[in-house]
């Protein structure tokens, strides 16, 4: 709990908003679908009251152990490069976010999603559905085994190909911390032409890219990629204190 009550008043520390030059804008002209969908008017500031500093508790009951292994579905093994994806979920104060629901989805090794609107001619894999769910442990750690997703064409511009990525959806403790994002792989040659990646301000793009991890790579089994996710934290501006250390 981050807030307190004091003589009937609610003291709710606001969640820090990332500096505007480091936030993904809601619309980006090179990503054509944003043209008619990204709101155009300036948003109205919403103070962080009780509805914003609270959030649903969604945990273990939504997740089964097998949800952390995307390589074993429908009674067989998925085709592709086996990878372990792991990391920590932190807030911007550096605190781990334990018991957080992490949902992931991705294309298969050929770059095809198991979805009715994805019909480009790459094969589906009967043993890969592309869905994973995990809950962070007490130290905010998560991990799942999957196969490395392929790149795929998407028609945004001539020869547009999405860099390989895994979609992540996260709940922290508060409505303000909700995050849906995409994890990329290091040194992808497709970054330069991808407007979804390049919509992220240049100074923050590295935060969306995982790191190859030799230390967690499993001998004779799977490569490993590490990706820490940072949700918004609260404003930690120190209070003025008197000599007793009490808040003045």
């Amino acid at each position: 709990m981050t807030g307190t009550t004091s003589e009937g008043r609610l003291v709710l520390p606001p969640y820090v908003r990332e500096d505007a030059p480091l936030r993904t804008p809601v619309g980006f002209p090179d990503y054509r679908s944003t043209a008619l969908r990204a709101p155009l008017r300036t948003p109205v500031d919403l103070p962080h009251r009780l509805t914003e500093v609270t959030g649903p508790v969604l945990g273990e009951d939504r997740v089964q152990a097998r949800d952390a292994d995307l390589t074993l579905r429908n009674g067989g093994e998925a085709i592709g490069q086996r990878i372990l994806v792991y990391g920590r979920v932190l807030d911007s104060n550096g605190r781990p976010v334990p018991d957080a629901l992490v949902e992931v989805w991705q294309a298969n090794a050929a770059g095809r999603y198991r979805h009715v609107v994805d019909n480009w001619p790459a094969p589906l894999d009967p043993h890969f559905d592309g869905l994973g769910r995990v809950v962070t442990d007490g130290l905010g750690r998560y991990e799942f085994m999957t196969i490395r997703p392929g790149a795929y064409p998407w028609g945004n511009h001539h020869n547009a190909w999405r860099p390989a990525h895994i979609h992540f959806s996260l709940f922290g403790r508060a409505f303000t911390q909700r995050l849906v994002t995409q994890m990329y792989f290091p040194d992808d040659p497709l970054f330069g032409q991808d407007p979804i990646f390049n919509a992220i301000p240049a100074a923050a793009r590295h935060r969306a890219i995982s790191r190859y991890s030799l230390e967690r790579t499993q001998d004779n089994w799977a490569l490993a990629f590490e990706w820490d996710i940072v949700l918004r934290g609260t404003d930690q501006t120190p209070f003025e204190t008197d000599d007793d250390g009490d808040v003045a």
């Binding site: 609610l10 908003r17 990332e18 009251r49 550096g94 989805w105 935060r207």
Partner: protein
């Protein structure tokens, strides 16, 4: 990417200068602040990862006093958006939250989760959430907020979630006192106010256009 607070890049513009006087304590003098992970669109295939059979039920099916909040999502051309996700979060009828983050203590209301997630797939462009009408919640400054539901909208073509609120047309008195609603230009407030229907309330969401919904920076 790995977050390592010790990974400080060298700055050639300001070479190391030993300082005289009091030595540092070794503790941070400024609060640690890590850069947040940038958001991205949910894309067109969100149904793979984000579909919940019980998503629509912020209140359990059959809960007494349950209401449906229904609406449609439109784009700037006035077309229905058939691949958005709408999430709602709200207080229970007593104004409590089933969240340990509530400094008044986590509330528990029978059959009530307070959170819903639905996609605008079937019928295309439409959503419906079964819930209980929220009670009034303190505004933290001695007053009460009007009953409201916080809403996030995610979609292909939207790179960061957009946030809005649902208020209720039959709460005119409370709405008139609500500080958030009053901060919205008067001629746009109606984009936040759901109208009563046979089984609950209805409010359409316009991502763009003359009737663009009021979205909030949170």
């Amino acid at each position: 990417m790995t977050v390592d607070p010790l990974d400080v890049p060298p700055d050639p513009a300001t070479p190391f200068q030993p300082r005289s006087g009091r030595r540092g304590t070794g503790f941070l003098t400024e609060p640690l602040r890590l850069g947040t992970t940038p958001s991205a669109t949910v894309g067109p295939y969100l149904a793979i990862g984000l579909s919940w059979p019980d998503g629509a039920w912020a209140a359990a099916e059959g809960t007494e006093g349950g209401i449906w909040i229904r609406g449609r999502v439109f784009d700037g051309a006035g077309d229905l958006v058939p691949d958005a996700m709408v999430e709602t979060w709200q207080a229970d009828p007593d104004g409590g939250f089933s969240s340990p983050e509530d400094p008044r203590g986590a509330a528990s209301y029978p059959g009530f989760r307070g959170y819903a997630r639905v996609q605008t797939i079937d019928p295309p462009g439409e959503f419906g959430v079964f819930t209980l009408k929220p009670g009034r919640v303190p505004d933290g400054e001695g007053g009460l907020q009007a009953p409201h539901v916080d809403v996030s909208v995610f979609a292909r073509g939207v790179l960061d979630r957009v946030v809005t609120r649902v208020y209720f047309a039959d709460e005119a008195e409370a709405n008139a006192q609500d500080a958030v609603l009053r901060s919205v230009p008067e001629d746009r407030r109606e984009t936040l106010i759901a109208t009563p229907t046979d089984d609950g309330y209805r409010l359409d969401i316009h991502l763009q256009g003359d009737r663009e919904t009021v979205f909030f920076a949170v």
